[in-house]
């Protein structure tokens, strides 16, 4: 393999976006209101667009002729390197928003820093995506406040949704040997340094939504090494079905 660290890093970035984009697309036609249907699908499409660029880069780093589609549709669950947060089921609308809230706030900080990556392709993808993600943050933050500080039912659902996704936040800020090396060479971002700012953003919105932060729990981790929850396999079986059944099919 030409550059295995870059391959891993680009896969992690791309898989986060791809899996969350796929999750959001599951809402299409099912959201509580037509307007929400459109906004969730828009966010999903932004994310899938990012994934296309990152996975293309991963394929080039690997140097074995795999393009973004090959990586998206012909990798098995153990080869996916997304964080556990993005593969969590949609649940109800509140749980979906809670997941988006934690993730988009992380992704905006990450992409803001990646704009200065020494890898020019990563820097270019991040520069384009950071504006999209700024909007995702705005959307998720607004909904956190409206559901948290809304009716008795919306509040109860949001408390439950936040409780579900909370344990997956820690993994976003983990650094391992792959990222250590790339941080040293200026390609990757040291996400540990972004944690205080993320904590501050999350706390501010929760306060505005009059929500208590859930009790700290041991973080669930393993996604970056390919150890996933049971949910990812089901997601992939649906997402990959067509290309598995009819390899190379085009439209």
């Amino acid at each position: 393999m030409r550059d295995s660290a870059l391959f891993d890093y680009a896969c992690r970035l791309g898989d986060d976006s791809l899996i969350l984009g796929q999750r959001l697309s599951e809402w299409c036609g099912h959201a509580p209101m037509l307007e929400i249907d459109l906004s969730l699908a828009n966010v999903g499409l932004d994310l899938i667009g990012q994934a296309t660029h990152f996975l293309k880069l991963a394929g080039e780093a690997e140097g074995e002729g795999r393009d973004a589609d090959a990586l998206a549709f012909h990798r098995d669950v153990l080869d996916y390197k997304n964080c556990l947060l993005v593969e969590q089921p949609n649940g109800d609308f509140a749980q979906t928003i809670a997941r988006q809230f934690l993730f988009s706030n992380y992704q905006e900080l990450l992409f803001r820093e990646l704009c200065a990556s020494k890898n020019v392709t990563i820097a270019a993808i991040a520069a384009k995506a950071v504006k999209e993600v700024a909007y995702h943050v705005r959307l998720a933050n607004e909904w956190m406040v409206r559901l948290g500080d809304g009716t008795a039912e919306s509040r109860a659902r949001m408390i439950a949704g936040l409780e579900w996704v909370w344990r997956f936040g820690e993994e976003l800020f983990d650094v391992d040997a792959v990222t250590e090396a790339l941080i040293a060479s200026g390609v990757a971002v040291d996400v540990r340094q972004l944690k205080p700012e993320w904590d501050g953003r999350v706390a501010k919105v929760l306060a505005e939504a009059s929500l208590e932060p859930p009790k700290p729990r041991r973080g669930a981790k393993g996604g970056r090494e390919g150890h996933h929850s049971e949910h990812l396999g089901h997601l992939l079986s649906e997402m990959q079905f067509l290309q598995r059944a009819y390899p190379g099919a085009q439209w």
């Binding site: 307007e35 909007y135 607004e142 409206r146």
Partner: protein, 94 residues
């Protein structure tokens, strides 16, 4: 759906210098969310540079049954169109 969010009318400015034009409507619980719904619904293909949303309930409309007295008197007053003047030679823009 028994209970629905209020309706908002959406106006888009296509580019600077043009006026906002009515594009359609969205449902939203409040003004901020109406702007976001309008952005997601009506500006996905670079349709605009500025958005207005207005509660539909705030629009005061003329009564269709009044259209006779309101609009028909203008029909036989073609002289109100500025087409009866000769443009002096040498004037390029008027």
């Amino acid at each position: 759906m028994t209970k629905s969010w209020p309706l908002w009318e959406v106006f888009i400015r296509a580019k600077n210098g043009l006026s906002h034009r009515h594009a359609g409507s969205v449902h939203a619980a409040d003004a901020k969310m109406a702007l976001e719904a309008a952005r997601d619904t009506y500006t996905r293909r670079m349709e605009g540079v500025s958005l207005w949303v207005v509660p539909s309930a705030q629009i005061v409309a003329s009564d269709p049954s009044d259209s006779g007295p309101l609009f028909e008197p203008a029909a036989d007053k073609v002289y109100r169109h500025p087409t009866f003047y000769k443009i002096p030679e040498g004037v390029k823009n008027i």
